[in-house]
């Protein structure tokens, strides 16, 4: 089952192409994160699904129905805005009741469903407050209750947690996840916060220049990025240039690294002599003060050390390049800057990316 399908969506504004042929299938009941830098098209896509943006080409299907000619108010969607967009002249209860009242639901039903919705977001007792009298987190809960009370087919969230401070944001992430599971509604949210996307989403899509660079489960996208942009945008990565020296049976290739030394890794096709770009996550690198350079191991010199509680970040000069790595603070203590070290990794953690 698929709740929302977008096919070949194109939207141009004068010289800017906001959407450049986007095709995504949002599955029933999943929480899908649209991730990308500002101006990458993710918000345009969200607003096209809502109906605020008319596509130049392509279509949006909600529940199998092409909503191309359907105005926003007839699409049966729920949307939460970054600014929450609560009605300032209405109380909390009136805000939540609005969607039911414009649909002409009977008064008893409205009252009952408003109560249910406010209970779901744990705001019982604040019915008569005005939005101005609420904290940021409370306003967000009202906005969520208001968006869900009409039982929409799809919930759209525009930077849902962007306006909250860090502590409240983590709390609301958990809350949002709980409510989304409880209601089981297909939810699409836009964020530029990679951590938020990884924590919340069942699946994510990474946007750049109006295109989907990669789509998949957060772990899959994180562990196997396909492009340099995807690897660098979602988490941190070291990028190693190299040239294929031999292909071995079993699919592994030997690569001579520009920083010196050799690596072995799995390539997508490839032939001897071809140049490749490999991504390596900082936490996959093992640092040791002894050992030799060799296959998947290079020598370097520690430039600086940043202790940050549960882990320590090392920057190590290797050849012409500086590599970054994280090391969990078990009990080994830190390695002093200036020390000669050996960095090593497993073949599985080298990922070929397109530049």
């Amino acid at each position: 089952m698929s709740a929302v399908v977008v096919t070949d969506a194109v939207k141009r504004y004068d010289a800017v192409t906001a959407l450049d042929g986007v095709t995504i299938t949002f599955r029933e009941g999943e929480l899908f994160g649209l991730l990308g830098p500002s101006g990458s098209g993710k918000t345009t896509l969200l607003r096209a699904i809502a109906g605020f943006v008319t596509l130049d080409r392509g279509q949006v299907l909600i529940d199998g129905q092409n909503v191309g000619g359907v105005p926003v108010h007839a699409r049966n969607i729920g949307m939460m805005f970054q600014s929450y967009a609560l009605f300032p002249h209405m109380s909390v209860a009136e805000n939540v009741a609005f969607g039911l009242e414009v649909r002409g639901r009977p008064r008893e039903e409205v009252a009952r469903r408003v109560q249910e919705a406010l209970a779901m977001v744990r705001l019982g007792g604040l019915e008569q407050r005005k939005p101005k009298q609420l904290s940021g987190g409370q306003q967000q809960r009202v906005a969520l209750a208001r968006a869900l009370v009409t039982r929409p087919k799809v919930l759209l969230l525009d930077e849902p947690l962007g306006a909250l401070d860090r502590h409240l944001r983590q709390e609301m992430q958990v809350e949002l996840r709980r409510i989304q599971r409880q209601v089981g509604i297909t939810t699409i949210f836009v964020t530029h916060d990679q951590e938020e996307a990884l924590t919340l989403s069942d699946r994510i899509a990474i946007f750049d220049f109006g295109r989907v660079i990669q789509e998949g489960a957060p772990m899959e996208v994180y562990e196997r990025p396909v492009t340099k942009f995807a690897a660098g945008f979602l988490g941190e990565a070291n990028f190693l240039h190299g040239r294929v020296t031999s292909l071995e049976p079993g699919g592994l290739a030997r690569v001579a690294l520009e920083i010196g030394g050799a690596a072995s890794c799995r390539l997508k096709g490839g032939q001897v002599g071809q140049s490749v770009l490999l991504a390596l996550r900082p936490e996959k690198i093992t640092l040791s003060t002894e050992g030799e350079a060799g296959m998947n191991a290079v020598r370097g010199n520690v430039l600086d050390v940043v202790f940050s509680g549960n882990s320590t970040t090392y920057r190590v000069a290797v050849g012409e390049q500086v590599m970054t790595l994280f090391r969990q603070n078990l009990s080994q203590g830190t390695v002093a800057p200036g020390s000669d070290v050996v960095l090593s990794w497993s073949s599985d953690h080298l990922v070929q990316v397109t530049p």
Binding site: A50, M79, F81, A85, L86, T150
Partner: protein
């Protein structure tokens, strides 16, 4: 150290006294029995009674209130629409039109009055209540646009989008979301329009034909002829009305924004 604040206080009271003592004296003498403003003060409502029997002043009063009310309705409706157009749409000449709103506020009314008199003669609009009304609308329109525009400038557009996603048709959105949020600005603009029209002398004087007057024009005429404390009485009534409108404006325009 202590002298500073004390001096400021004295200064404040001097300023207020300078502004209000003449008005208070004027109002008090309206309740004085002597037709020659002679003292000692002797309380009497004789001038208010005389006012009640002065058909010309009452007629002028009715004209003034009537014109002010009709002017308020027209100027508020047109001004609100114009403010919405300026805030919501981009169109050719928008900036020029917005800039052109301000000269009518800044140009002396005498000049505008003369211009209107000539213009109305030229397009064959006779001097009379209708011409006065047209003049007042033209004059109060910029005030309404500026006041409503200020409210629109802080209008959160996302709430209209939110209303749409919740299933509200454009009309429902306007009636239940846009209009209530704009209301304080519109009411403030309306009160401005009423005050501008009700207090207007120059334009009314220029555009009033013989025999038809508004209150300020009638008072001016009476003063020139030689007057009795009746004028004090009617002036006091005008001041009470104007101050009332002003206080209402302040309430809606200043504090209305926060509700």
């Amino acid at each position: 150290m202590k002298l500073g604040p004390a001096l400021l206080k004295v200064h404040l009271w001097l300023v207020l006294g300078f502004l209000y003592v003449p008005i208070v004296v004027m109002a008090a003498l309206g309740f004085n029995a002597s037709p020659l403003y002679a003292l000692p003060f002797e309380f009497d409502l004789v001038w208010y009674r005389a006012l009640a029997g002065n058909a010309k002043l009452i007629d002028a009063g009715i004209h003034s209130v009537g014109i002010a009310l009709v002017n308020t309705i027209i100027a508020t409706a047109l001004g609100t629409m114009a403010a919405l157009a300026f805030a919501r749409y981009t169109f050719r000449g928008r900036t020029v039109m917005q800039i052109l709103l301000f000269p009518p506020i800044a140009i002396p009314w005498l000049v505008i009055g003369t211009a209107m008199l000539v213009f109305f003669y030229w397009i064959d609009v006779r001097r009379g209540l209708f011409a006065i009304l047209l003049g007042h609308v033209a004059l109060s329109l910029p005030y309404v646009i500026v006041v409503v525009g200020a409210r629109l400038a802080t209008f959160p557009r996302a709430v209209e989008e939110a209303a749409a996603t919740l299933g509200a048709t454009p009309w429902q959105t306007f009636r239940r979301v846009t209009a209530p949020i704009l209301a304080p600005g519109v009411i403030g603009g309306a009160l401005f329009a009423f005050a501008v029209s009700f207090d207007q002398f120059v334009i009314s004087y220029f555009l009033a034909p013989p025999g038809v007057t508004t209150l300020p024009v009638e008072i001016y005429g009476a003063i020139r002829k030689g007057f009795t404390p009746e004028i004090n009485a009617i002036s006091t009534i005008i001041i009470v009305v104007s101050m009332g409108v002003l206080l209402l404006t302040a309430r809606f325009y200043r504090f209305g924004g926060e509700r």
